[in-house]
């Protein structure tokens, strides 16, 4: 079993019409043993950019702390908040710095840029960027998520429809994955603000 499967996770981001969504499960395990059922895997970077970190739990925390430090320094120095595209290149560089001893995390970034245009992207554990117009998936349930997203996603979904789509895709995907689940958290990012909802699934 790969170290990427040690703690278990499922994260998905989707683009809608003038909005984006990012959702993650809440489980933290050690292989098949569940340790925590309320583990944070998606983090706010700015008011309208979120990052999801599927992979090894130790690196989830380490990387988020380091992102926060870099983004705060950027904010104070530049006197403006970072754009999602700029942030994803920052993440990519921070991962590639560890090319031969990587962080075992495949980050997913979702946000709205300064023109309220949806932006989603993913990358592998050494920072190879993957831009998408529809959806990005990651974690131990990523195969299942691909299937769900391929069949449920459609272009130009509004915030409510997008919430419904991403929630159903994630819940269905984690139900067939033993290493992720225990409910989920969904963030819908709109120009007016972020709506965060906790959803219950099969709690086992």
């Amino acid at each position: 079993m790969s170290i990427m499967q040690y703690n278990g996770s499922a994260i998905v981001a989707m683009a809608g019409k003038d909005c984006v969504a990012i959702a993650a499960d809440k489980r933290l395990g050690q292989r098949a043993l569940t340790v925590d059922t309320d583990f944070q895997k998606v983090f706010p970077i700015t008011d309208r950019t979120y990052v999801g970190l599927p992979g090894l739990a130790t690196d989830v925390k380490t990387l988020y702390d380091r992102f926060r430090m870099r983004v705060n320094l950027y904010k104070h120095r530049e006197e403006r908040t970072i754009e999602p595209k700029t942030f994803s290149h920052l993440v990519s560089h921070m991962l590639y710095e560890r090319r031969f001893g990587p962080y075992f995390v495949e980050p997913i970034i979702a946000g709205l840029d300064k023109n309220d245009k949806p932006y989603i992207c993913g990358m592998d554990l050494i920072g190879c960027l993957d831009f998408a117009k529809d959806f990005i998936v990651g974690g131990t349930a990523s195969d299942n998520l691909y299937g769900m997203c391929e069949s449920l996603w459609e272009p130009d979904l509004g915030p409510n429809d997008l919430f419904e789509t991403i929630s159903q895709a994630l819940l269905a995907a984690v139900d067939r994955d033993a290493l992720s689940g225990w409910g989920a958290v969904v963030h819908i990012i709109t120009p007016e603000g972020v709506i965060t909802r906790d959803i219950k699934g099969r709690m086992d």
Partner: protein
């Protein structure tokens, strides 16, 4: 092969750690205190590679105390746990990683809340209501899942600890002779004997 678990209520944490030291098939010692007091209201229990446990916990204890002396102020449980995690994570990717599993228990005087942090040797950290490390987790999580409620009292938690002992006694191959039982709450940290449960 250590037994290590803890239960947190709203305003207390009770932690249990076995006192045995084993090497291969030998019992070397049965009165080793595997907990480490970090400040008046924070302590941690440590298991893992024998040399690493004492080395790492002494390093942490020294630094947490140094902070208190330098700044005339104790670190809160959450600050302590984050500091420990950071040091362990840095060690993990250095030439001398420490193989230690930790439970950090504390009472935050500012917030008026108890806190329990689970940290494994890879330095994954989670704030949890109850926790365990090692083989005994496979037995004890089931008991704690069934019996735990968020509004559990100290007496309730003591009863739950007793049930955990029962399970370990009946189903686990290893016989842990004795345990360090510690409670932290508003009044600080105190140790309990088994017959005080």
């Amino acid at each position: 092969m250590d037994a290590q678990f803890a239960i947190a209520g709203r305003d207390f944490v009770i932690s249990v750690t076995d006192k045995g030291v084993m090497s291969s098939i030998l019992k070397m010692k049965k009165n080793q205190d595997k907990t480490c007091q970090l400040s008046s209201h924070t302590f941690m229990s440590v298991s893992g590679e024998p040399g690493d446990t004492s080395n790492f916990s002494e390093y942490i204890q020294g630094n947490v105390k140094l902070y208190s002396v330098r700044n005339s102020q104790d670190l809160s449980p959450s600050e302590t746990a984050n500091f420990i995690r950071g040091e362990l994570a840095d060690a993990l990717r250095s030439r001398s990683p420490s193989h230690v599993n930790l439970l950090v228990a504390g009472y935050d005087k500012g917030a008026g809340e108890a806190a329990l942090y689970w940290i494994d040797y890879l330095s994954a950290m989670a704030k949890v209501p109850f926790a365990s490390h090692g083989y005994c987790g496979y037995f004890l999580y089931a008991v704690m899942d069934r019996e735990y409620t968020p509004d559990i009292t100290l007496d309730g938690a003591k009863a739950l600890v007793k049930k955990c002992f029962e399970v370990l006694k009946t189903r686990f191959v290893i016989d842990f002779a004795d345990y360090t039982i510690k409670v932290v709450d508003r009044d600080g940290t105190r140790e309990l004997r088994q017959d005080e449960l």
